[in-house]
């Protein structure tokens, strides 16, 4: 339980969380999830117990370089834990069903929707939120670019947009116009500031390059 070594972050990144790991994460001490078919049944020979929603699991999340030991219900989303349990409210709640990207965070440097990620799934990964792009009170390059280009209106989708841009630039430091659009297409902006957002991503790419690599 809570042993980060048992997980393989690379496998996680490639395939998302495995069902097997999901169960081991939750299962060891308190409860074992109900499952009865296929390979899984062979892995868990004992009579599976139904895990009640409100039984908590002890996990440790690595967020912005700090370890947070937590007791969570297995159904809690990473979004809920970030915002309502840890007070990391830069990550916004838009739809809670993987449509708008307002809750985008980086999990092992890849943009992910925190609303579709269970907190227990996120154990063993490196989570970065908007707060994690700051150095003390100083903005990171993508944030500065969004400020300069007025790449927002109401600002509510902005943290998610910035995280999507950050993730894009970490894997592709010099994206083409088309790559910027694709990279940002998982994040809705109802105010419609896309044009300025594209400008900001271009500016951020230049700023990061000048600084000599990703920060």
């Amino acid at each position: 339980m809570g042993d980060e070594k048992t997980s393989d972050p690379k496998a996680c990144k490639a395939k998302g969380i495995t069902r097997r790991r999901f169960l081991t994460t939750m299962g060891a001490s308190a409860a074992v999830a109900a499952a009865s078919s296929g390979k899984l049944a062979a892995d868990t020979p004992k009579e599976p117990e139904l895990l009640k929603a409100e039984e908590t699991a002890r996990i440790t999340l690595s967020i912005n370089g700090r370890r947070h030991p937590l007791l969570v219900e297995p159904r809690w989303s990473l979004l809920y834990v970030l915002r309502e349990r840890l007070g990391l409210t830069a990550t916004k709640v838009g739809c809670e069903r993987g449509e708008c990207g307002a809750c985008t965070v980086l999990i092992d440097d890849v943009p992910r929707y925190a609303c579709l990620t269970l907190a227990v799934e996120a154990q063993g990964t490196r989570i970065t939120t908007l707060e994690g792009l700051m150095t003390g009170e100083d903005l990171g390059p993508v944030q500065r670019a969004f400020l300069e280009d007025d790449a927002f209106q109401c600002g509510y989708c902005t943290p998610g947009q910035i995280m999507a841009a950050e993730g894009l630039l970490r894997t592709n430091p010099a994206p083409s116009e088309e790559e910027i659009r694709r990279g940002m297409s998982g994040n809705l902006c109802r105010c419609g500031a896309y044009d300025h957002i594209f400008k900001a991503v271009r500016r951020a790419a230049t700023m990061k390059k000048r600084k000599g690599g990703p920060t």
């Binding site: 929603a53 409100e54 219900e73 159904r75 809690w76 809920y80 915002r83 309502e84 007070g87 409210t89 830069a90 990550t91 916004k92 709640v93 838009g94 739809c95 809670e96 069903r97 449509e99 708008c100 307002a102 939120t129 908007l130 707060e131 700051m134 903005l139 944030q143 500065r144 969004f146 400020l147 300069e148 007025d150 927002f152 209106q153 109401c154 600002g155 509510y156 989708c157 902005t158 943290p159 910035i162 116009e177 910027i180 659009r181 694709r182 940002m184 297409s185 994040n187 809705l188 902006c189 109802r190 105010c191 419609g192 500031a193 896309y194 044009d195 300025h196 957002i197 594209f198």
Partner: protein, 776 residues
């Protein structure tokens, strides 16, 4: 215009104190240092760092989470509610419904349509039935699901096109008409059509559009004995305060509403939602603060929409382009309660182009669906969809360029208003002429007409223009400005910044007038407990309403400051100016004194200036204008439309901040692209009456992949000095009015097919393309 909208948008007749006094208006700014330049926002750091606390970010000690049980049926009577299981569940602190003491309250959907907060008769899917407060939102929703409700499901109607059919179930006992047919008439249309060389008639429809701001509607409510504090995601804290005080029968002074940040609204947060009252009741009952934000699905059902509109327009024109008559009829619905279903639907037909003979008929009907709310220029994009497509068709019929036809019919006065009062300024001609020039309209028209008719991928260009019904702002507004002894400034105003950059514009006004840097100005705003009364931010009126009050307050401060400086410098205050935090003699620049070193200011500690928004000019109207041009590419095989470029030429008076101005323009165009190509509420009319696309997957907004690569903002920067003392007019709504129609016109130019029903998507366009191929 409905009474609600009148309250929201315009209070021109309100008698108010005036600063400066009548007849002493300050001279318009000539050369400016800050106004009209590009400035990043004063709160940009907060917004990009995550430090900005939106109402949904607020977390308080011992806070509970609220959730609302809503009617799953479009029309049903609640026969019984059994909440025993729910009440016993882990973490649940309260379940409230109609029978709960203190929850038996009236809710005024309209002045003459009061229902209960939890009314046994639910007239739309999503109407409130009960609510829960629990330790976590998960537990609250568990409890909502555990409440047993017995419904008597009643016959319904969810399609306004069937609302008046015989045997259609009546939404209200008096029938499905909200009011008698509204008729507007000037001249005689029969005479006008007789004079015309060409008469055309066409039916149009725009589908229902939903606001869906990124931050859902909701609040955090906390009681402090008999005082209620609400952090609400709203466009106006004062209207929320007033409604909460009214419904809960409390004095205004005991209701404090705070709304510093908010995550989008587009008109849907101009009014108070039932959920705010429910949060307050839950908080009262549990003795703990309650956070209650709607789920995304609830925002689709219950917090407003742009009504679907069915329109018919008959128009007559002479060969020389003189319009002779418009006959318009519109049928629309604001849902289950009076909510302005047809509000302003005919305004553009009545007002935009010179036309002597006009007749309009509007039918506002009930259906069993969530009530509408004002949506960015109510009625206008729908009306533009009809009128602007008709203008194109007329131009083609008389072989005239569509821009030229519009230019030929520009009025300098408001035809549709009593006494035909003139506009203070009208830049429509410039919008069309300069817009066409910057867009390369003539060249583009030629290029698209040269594309062979057999080409599989074709290009087309389109134009559309508009006036916005209000947009001049007006009283009341009060602003307090404080100049501290070190020369820094605090601005206190009640208005909300809904993402348009209001705070930044106001800081620029102060900086311009006081000669200080914008970054030393601290702004307190949108808090009924600590800031001054302001109307809600909507109607494209916030800048023209608030900026003159801010300038007036700055002038009040400046006069006092120069008097104190003059005493010290032994110079007449009228011979002094302020530059960069230093008072300088206009005649002898060597004589100067830093603001921070004025002894009179040091000893007082602060100078306070109060500014009021004075009245608008009498017998004249202040309206913004806009013309938009676009180019599209249509794949004739797949029906896919790619929007290549857009240009918006706007007359919104003086440009206050070029950076946020451009942002409004691109945002308005993006939203119009949604109306034209992707957005449509779908109600299951034949079986359940339920909304089937209540999420962003099935109801698609424009994404990063749907906007053109080139959007050009072309301001017609002409200060409207007659309108107010900053020369500004509204911008946020005109930028989205003509967009959808311009796209439809461009698609016609490309394909020769008139798409009169929104949204134009590959499915709808392919269908018509296939039909036209068959017909050859």
């Amino acid at each position: 215009m409905s009474a609600e909208e009148k309250n929201v948008y315009y209070q021109a007749d309100t008698p108010v104190p005036e600063t400066p006094p009548p007849g002493k208006a300050p001279a318009p700014w000539k050369k400016t240092r800050f106004i009209g330049k590009s400035a990043t926002r004063v709160d940009a750091y907060e917004r990009v760092s995550g430090r900005a606390l939106y109402p949904s970010d607020i977390s308080l000690p011992r806070m509970l989470y609220g959730a609302i049980l809503r009617s799953p049926h479009p029309k049903a009577r609640v026969k019984r509610i059994d909440a025993k299981d729910a009440e016993r569940m882990n973490g649940v602190h309260a379940v409230i419904s109609a029978s709960t003491p203190g929850a038996d309250l009236y809710w005024p959907y309209a002045a003459d349509k009061k229902v209960k907060l939890f009314d046994p008769l639910c007239l739309y899917e999503g109407e409130t039935v009960a609510a829960v407060a629990a330790e976590t939102p998960y537990q609250a929703w568990d409890a909502v699901r555990a409440i047993q409700v017995g419904y008597e499901v009643l016959p319904f109607v969810v399609d306004e096109r069937k609302s008046l059919d015989p045997h259609t179930p009546a939404v209200h006992p008096e029938g499905n008409r909200v009011k008698p047919v509204e008729i507007y008439e000037r001249g005689e249309v029969a005479k006008g059509f007789a004079e015309a060389d060409v008469v055309l008639e066409q039916s149009y429809r725009t589908e229902c559009e939903l606001h869906t701001p990124l931050e859902a509607h909701g609040c955090v409510a906390r009681w402090d004995h008999d005082k209620l504090i609400i952090w609400e995601s709203t466009q106006g804290v004062f209207p929320v305060q007033a409604r909460v005080a009214e419904v809960l029968n409390m004095p205004l002074s005991k209701v404090r509403v705070i709304g510093h940040y908010m995550g989008g609204a587009f008109g849907s947060k101009l009014q108070t939602d039932k959920s705010t009252i429910i949060a307050a009741l839950l908080a009262k009952r549990t003795g703990r603060p309650v956070k209650l934000f709607l789920t995304r699905e609830e925002t689709y059902l219950a917090v407003g929409n742009r009504p679907p509109a069915n329109m018919k327009l008959k128009a007559g024109v002479k060969k020389d382009g003189t319009l002779t008559a418009f006959q318009f009829s519109g049928t629309a619905t604001g849902g289950a309660f009076p909510a302005g279903g047809t509000s302003l639907l005919d305004w553009l037909v009545r007002e935009l182009y010179l036309c002597p003979h006009v007749r309009c008929e509007l039918s506002d009907l009930y259906i069993n669906a969530g009530p509408s709310r004002p949506f960015r220029a109510p009625g206008h994009p729908q009306g533009a969809w009809a009128l602007e497509q008709m203008m194109d068709a007329l131009a083609e019929a008389i072989r005239m360029d569509p821009v030229e036809l519009r230019l030929k019919n520009i009025p300098s006065f408001s035809q549709a208003r009593e006494g035909k009062p003139p506009y203070t300024t009208t830049g429509l001609k410039d919008c069309l002429e300069q817009g066409a020039k910057a867009f390369g309209w003539a060249e583009a028209r030629k290029a698209t007409s040269d594309i062979p008719k057999k080409a599989l991928v074709r290009r087309g260009v389109g134009v559309a223009s508009c006036v916005w019904f209000v947009g001049g702002g007006g009283p009341p507004s009060t602003v307090i400005l404080r100049l501290f002894s070190d020369g820094s400034v605090n601005l206190n105003m009640g208005a909300s910044d809904i993402g348009t950059g209001t705070k930044t514009v106001m800081a620029l006004v102060v900086a311009e007038e006081l000669g200080v840097k914008p970054d030393i100005i601290q702004i307190e705003h949108a808090d009924t407990g600590t800031t001054q009364y302001a109307t809600a931010s909507g109607g494209s009126k916030t800048v023209p309403t608030e900026s003159p009050a801010v300038r007036a307050a700055a002038i009040e401060v400046k006069q006092q400051l120069l008097k104190l400086a003059g005493e010290e410098m032994k110079l007449d205050p009228s011979a002094l100016t302020i530059e960069g935090g230093v008072v300088v003699s206009a005649n002898d620049p060597s004589k100067k004194l830093k603001i921070a070193e004025i002894p009179g200011l040091k000893s007082r500690g602060v100078i306070v200036g109060i500014g009021y928004r004075g009245p608008n000019p009498k017998n004249k109207f202040v309206n913004p204008f806009c013309a938009q041009f676009c180019e599209v590419e249509v794949d004739m095989r797949t029906g896919e439309v790619k929007i290549i470029r857009f240009l918006s030429a706007n007359d919104s008076g003086r440009v206050m901040n070029r950076l946020t101005y451009n942002n409004q323009v691109i945002g308005g165009i993006t939203m119009g692209i949604g109306l034209a190509t992707t957005e449509r509420r779908i109600l299951d009319g034949s079986q359940t009456g339920k909304m089937v696309n209540r999420n962003w997957h099935d109801y698609k907004l424009p994404t990063a992949l749907d906007v053109p690569a080139l959007i050009t903002s072309l301001p017609i920067d002409r200060p409207d000095d007659e309108a107010n003392i900053t020369g500004s007019k509204g911008l946020g709504e005109p930028v989205t009015i003509p967009t959808a129609a311009a796209i439809a016109n461009a698609i016609y130019d490309a394909t020769g097919i008139r798409m009169a029903v929104s949204p134009i998507n590959p499915v709808t366009l392919c269908e018509v393309l296939a039909k036209s191929r068959k017909e050859g």
